[in-house]
Symmetry: C2
Subunit: 326 residues, 2 copies
């Protein structure tokens, strides 16, 4: 995989599309990022993704390291074999042939994979998880996702939809999730869930409920809720502590099922820092058997925002070089 | 693995110990079963297990098919590498060197493995799961356990404690589990949980609560609760339907995390028949993405009570023949 060739990896997220040009050892040669613009429809999102990929391909060629393949990590469910995004909750795609369309546009092989699977591979090969096996990766962001590496290979499942961590039921009669189920991890512990609880709290405050400083925030995202909690607002504090408790249960369940050596947590919510990791470690200690929790390490993602894109590049490289892992 | 040799497999359960003598293709040549007698202490349980194993070894030798290795499937957590049962909830073992003790007694290599892992392998090789990959196995009995086969190999995890299905949290503030956690699958949906709910209901009835025919049962096990529900007792019916709903959520979470081709369900609760499978299929349909549930098959164990013992024999055979799967 080393030498003059290179690989393009794209991480297609609900809020941003991130692309990297990387060599076969995971060194980033160039990167690009654009807002996803999910509200503008599937054609516009695809155009942005394709233009990021095309410019990275061009840059690779110009530097004498022509890319050999392109990997895309996308939210599921997918038909990874045929390169189709079946349906997504935070993106406007339904039965969208992203792989074939991008291949036609770039003239290069494109490997579509689950975004959690790609990020897990990125962390396993180049990030916090080097050599740790089994490794479970959890992303806590707008949504909640994940991936697992077992015996050096990503666990894909029958249809590349394994590790849909965000749709594990944690509270059977809990709040409704976009997926139609109730009490999913994503409906309880994601950035979107935190923002939804904040809006409910503001609404309650406006009709005589408990007052909260959230009422004076011009924008109500997870970041603002964490900030107001930090400033001592009791309502924001309750929202944050509940969400992190559920994230902890989610991670504890993954530990109980996979008995991993390492769990890596990435995604925007990690910007809340040590508080998140404390909550997760507490849940694991109190809910898992000692045989599982005693040796388990829990670490923040080592590649920051590049886990998914670098992992997608690595999976494309493996596919192109005939090592169809998993 | 075929030819004149044979293998002994032992399934160490909370209520019974089952042993088989099998050839390399999973054909059962002989079997033995004894009550575990868990209340009599670890020495007595080990003596029963060792005597079952010894008599099967003897029988194999007498038939000219001397066993080459012995496999034991035991409830975790384990230190499988060193052959030690660390602690169990339904058995009197703490840090018990079952593997070395049995090797010393029999003069044969002994492979200790997680009981769920062994049963999953049994079903994968010889039972309902032939050729289905990934395969997830769930046992619903006194306790709840499981195993997974991925790429033909059992998912063991770092310390052979993966797939502790019964200790997945399904209801964060739910009833206390023997493990110390709250709202575990085992505390909500196992035979033990059903019996505990029945006892609570009988107690409630005796102090002026809702009357129930359970009050006149001399023994209150899961079997009696299913029977009274079938006869129209509304209290028993509620207990059964709640437990099966939680079992369904448990299985749905496994489907969401593993995206398996097949989920096999074994264990004593399956004697309740189609009702259990209907509840599980309903939960999977309503809680999993269509990409996962659409192609997923859910089947009863094909080997009945022999999944664990046959799988333990197969894992011992793999270990003896150098194919240290997983």
């Amino acid at each position: 995989m080393s030498g003059v060739g290179s690989f393009v990896g794209i991480d297609l997220g609900g809020t941003k599309i991130r692309g990297v040009l990387a060599d076969g050892e995971g060194r980033i040669l160039a990167s690009r990022q654009e807002p996803t613009g999910a509200s503008e429809g599937s054609k516009a999102v695809f155009a942005t993704l394709a233009s990021i990929a095309a410019s990275l391909v061009e840059e690779g060629r110009a530097a004498g390291r022509a890319p050999l393949a392109v990997g895309v990590g996308a939210p599921g469910p997918l038909d990874a074999e045929r390169g189709i995004i079946l349906v997504t909750e935070n993106l406007p795609f339904v039965d969208f042939p992203l792989g074939p369309s991008l291949e036609a546009r770039l003239g290069l092989p494109v490997k579509l994979d689950n975004d959690g699977c790609a990020a897990a591979m990125g962390e396993y090969l180049y990030g916090a998880g080097r050599g740790a096996d089994p490794l479970v990766y959890v992303t806590a962001s707008t949504g909640i996702g994940g991936g697992a590496i077992i015996g050096g290979r990503p666990l894909r499942g029958r249809g590349s939809n394994a590790l849909e961590v965000g749709h594990m039921t944690l509270l059977p009669e809990g709040p409704e999730c976009k997926c139609g189920n109730r009490g999913c991890a994503e409906a309880l512990a994601s950035g979107t869930a935190i923002a939804a609880r904040a809006e409910e709290a503001v609404l309650a405050a406006s009709s005589g409920g408990r007052p909260t400083s959230l009422s004076s925030c011009p924008r109500l995202g997870a970041e603002e809720v964490f900030r107001e909690a930090g400033r001592g607002d009791a309502v924001a504090e309750l929202i944050v502590s509940e969400a992190l408790a559920y994230l902890g249960i989610c991670v504890a369940n993954l530990a109980t099922l996979f008995d991993p050596e390492l769990i890596v947590i990435g995604g925007g919510l990690c910007r809340s820092g040590e508080r998140l990791f404390e909550a997760v470690r507490l849940a694991v200690r109190s809910r898992c058997s000692k045989a599982v929790s005693g040796t388990l390490r829990i670490l923040p993602a080592g590649l920051g925002e590049d886990s998914g894109a670098l992992g997608a590049a690595a999976l494309a490289a493996q596919a192109a070089c005939g090592d169809q892992a998993g």
